[in-house]
Symmetry: C2
Subunit: 224 residues, 2 copies
Amino acid sequence: MNILKKAVVLLSGGLDSAVTLFLAKDNGYECHCVVSEYGQRHKREIRHAELIAKKAGARLHKIKLSFPWNGSSLTDASVKLPSRRTIKEIKKGIPSTYVPARNSIFLSIAASLAETIGASAIFIGAHSEDSSGYPDCRVEYLEAFGNAVKLGTRAGIKKALKIEFPLADKTKKEIIELGQKLGVPFQHTWSCYEGKSEPCGVCDSCILRAKGFKEAGMKDPAIN
Amino acid sequence: MNILKKAVVLLSGGLDSAVTLFLAKDNGYECHCVVSEYGQRHKREIRHAELIAKKAGARLHKIKLSFPWNGSSLTDASVKLPSRRTIKEIKKGIPSTYVPARNSIFLSIAASLAETIGASAIFIGAHSEDSSGYPDCRVEYLEAFGNAVKLGTRAGIKKALKIEFPLADKTKKEIIELGQKLGVPFQHTWSCYEGKSEPCGVCDSCILRAKGFKEAGMKDPAIN
């Protein structure tokens, strides 16, 4: 009998998914990560995902999704990213960086891999407490998607596959503190939406990350 | 004000999705179809989808999904397809042609397109009454997925996007009769899983199609 627990972990190269990976590993799972190239500006996050997976001793599956449509400032370089917004502004409403149905696409692909390799869990680092107002990062959505997987997959019907979102109710500060305990190599994570050689410091993602490190009383090791 | 209703229709080149497209069109929608190349043996169905979309005057978006894993006799040519099964055998359990989480992947991609173009409905031709035992063709699943889209997308939150599965409770016979009324060009549809130059006649899909035409008292115009 195979008693090894397997998990599929959605990895982006960012901080949240890195903490999620190390948490899944800490919970005894053999981790199989999925990172997607979907036309994001910050394609360099994929290189960071590779590094993080390697550090965690996890396998990484790279997926390429080419959609002949656009609808987000994160995938359309001609649309300006939100910049220098206050936390209140960031948390209000759905920003232009929202990518339509992105987490549903990622979670479906994760479910496909999970069934194929016999993984019993899918981990996603989504959280809404201290992030942009993405509808697909909220607990209500994640629970609803988990229910669809329970009904629409072979593994789900057998009650052999569930979606885990361990960061869902945490603040960025709490996520960083958890990552520190777990030994997450924060210096290898990449959050900036711009995807240039250095973090821009002014996009929503940079601002939320800086706030988290500040509140955790830590220096961000990815910033020189 | 734009009063044109738009719909995204999942098209496979098969009979059910063709009927669904013509039904959506009949309901007054401007239809935007999505067909996916996902490693299926019967890749030729894409050519049929092109023909059907053209006949319906609908736009077709082609998506390519390359997954570095396998898990189905429909995508793995080294696994034999089920053959010459009885209807009872076909309906019992989940067959090897089940592709893990396929409809979740397709519906997520459809939701992404729908949000982008401002479509208010996603049409899928799934049904379970007279088909293989795919868990992701059942009403319970389709409703659960619809609920996830309602919670996890910008359009869903605004109650501006819903999933329609008008064939869900119909038999193949009823679907064929409906298609005939709507003028569906059945001769251009392709159902056979083998994907060779002529339908094999013995895979589950060919058997279910033949049963439907027989019960509807019609000759299948795609069979010479």
